[in-house]
Symmetry: C4
Subunit: 191 residues, 4 copies
């Protein structure tokens, strides 16, 4: 099976998730700064979701570059990833609404953790389909970055109940780590 429909469907779902939140920016009735103030947290929430989902889209794009074909398992590993990504606007919103209280920060971490695990599974399934000696097998190697991300999220979730800001700092750290997309794949393809 070719990968084109998997890409097209993922693009469609991520395009919807990434733009859904802009619907919550309700036009205020007042033409003053005062009217904009209550929208500030909604805007920030939209901005953060957008960046986070942009990172996943960009990495998904890189990952699929090295892929030659897909099978039924890949379709489901990908749907699994899309499911967790679709919850990102909700948990970002809950966290923002409650000024970074413990439980929302922890739940945010849980969704991020499962998204990172789903991405990890997708990568594993793709490597097992193409073989360890394929472009994608070599490029991902032992997938250090993927494992470290999941480990950081796992540590951050309980810490959210002690000091929410420490958990948030750890989320930001993982985000920065992935902002640079997977150069490993670009490099391996070129070689």
């Amino acid at each position: 099976m070719t990968k084109s429909r998997l890409e097209a469907f993922s693009d469609g779902v991520i395009a919807i998730i990434i733009t859904i939140m802009v619907l919550e920016l309700k036009v205020p009735h007042e033409a003053s700064w005062h009217g904009l103030v209550p929208l500030a947290p909604v805007f920030l929430r939209y901005l953060f979701s957008f960046i986070f989902l942009g990172i996943y889209w960009s990495n998904h794009h890189h990952l699929l570059q090295a892929v030659k074909h897909v099978d039924g398992r890949v379709l489901w590993a990908n749907l699994h990833l899309l499911f967790w990504l679709s919850l990102v606007p909700f948990v970002t919103g809950w966290m923002g609404e409650n000024k970074f209280a413990a439980l929302p920060v922890a739940l945010y971490g849980v969704v991020l953790l499962f998204a990172s695990i789903a991405y990890f599974i997708l990568a594993k399934v793709l490597v097992s389909l193409h073989g360890r000696d394929s472009v994608i097998g070599i490029a991902l190697g032992r997938d250090f970055k993927g494992k470290v991300s999941s480990a950081i999220y796992l540590t951050a979730i309980p810490l959210a109940f002690v000091r929410p800001w420490i958990a948030c700092a750890m989320y930001v750290l993982v985000t920065l780590m992935w902002l640079v997309p997977d150069r490993r794949i670009e490099k391996t393809i070129v070689e």
Copy 2:
């Protein structure tokens, strides 16, 4: 006519249907477990619709793999399928909202029945276009799985008025039957 636009349009429609329900997960104002409780049924409903539509997308993807070209009849058979699929979030929601009462469970079965019939018609039209000796003709054969699904749904709908849980168990049975996508097609293409 090539099949690429049919696939792209179906991907677009299914991507929208599959993500629409996440919009109903309204951010709660409380930062406690208490705030999340009323969202649990909405979340479960989203999860089940997502899985159900994922199954259809995955099978649709497999079905179209074996297709070489399409015509006007295929376009309409496909639109017919998409119409029934677009009603899945609504009937899933009504069933969940009413704790699996008889009528919603039966209506859920009706939509599932029509979706399965629409899928069956689409497969028939594709086979008649490509011939019984084509890849798709051989792969689908007498389409045992399709006929059994429709038969189970047809039995489950009246049973919903006697014991809703029996109907639900039958829906789950069909779902499991289709979770494994059509290996017949993958096999026939390879041979």
Copy 3:
């Protein structure tokens, strides 16, 4: 310029317009037939919009089949068509909400008229780009069907203020006329 992006963008927009209305099917709280009754007009409205937009998508698909390349004018003729199509759910809804009163029936006709004119313009621009001797030029010829449609709509709109049901019958007539997609194009391509 290739036509692939024009097709992909149109597919995306039509996929959204065609599924948007399903969002208005709000899950009722009652698990009885009583709870479904107020949804009947919304459902019918959704069904009619779906069929109408399905017809346009199917014909758009046929039209673009015969196209080799596009230019800036084609992009805008296409956007113009999409604009009028995006208003179809709204006017269908207003007409249904008011039990086919004169003004909503007339406005429905106006949107249908402009959509048919926009489709006509798109076809003209495509023919002028490819030449009268191209596949698309021969297939469309003097575009009898397009001109008749616009003429019927133009007659139906004033009649809506006299007898709304006559206007509705005329809309149904045009719809039936287009339900069979443009065999002229399929034929000309084969020859």
Copy 4:
């Protein structure tokens, strides 16, 4: 990396943004002209957003025509552009809601300014990737149009607080300037 997914994702996001506003055209209960009057500003707002986003889509389409491949930087420059475009319906709405008061007109200009800068950055990144002697390098040249647009927006924003209509006139001017898509690219490709 090929550009096809970048195009598909952008098409998806722009298709959603361009059609989102039609959801705000709520069906009125009255079947009279009176019922339509409050919808007039919503309709105009939708019309203007549609045209504005259509211009960007059309130019984006032209720009990407001349592109051979993309990299991680291009993905992010493109996401950056999509982010600002997604805010267009909101600022158009706020401006319309408040009858072109100073602050909304200025904010509208700010979003337009950032969108034009994002488009400029995307073009720059694409030129630097393909080289000054590539089709896209020659076609864009010193990008006079891009620089002038940003300069006009920059002048219009403070003027919005003096005379909002002057700022609006300047926005219309830039819009007209871009309504004709980039013939430079079409020409350079042909040569």
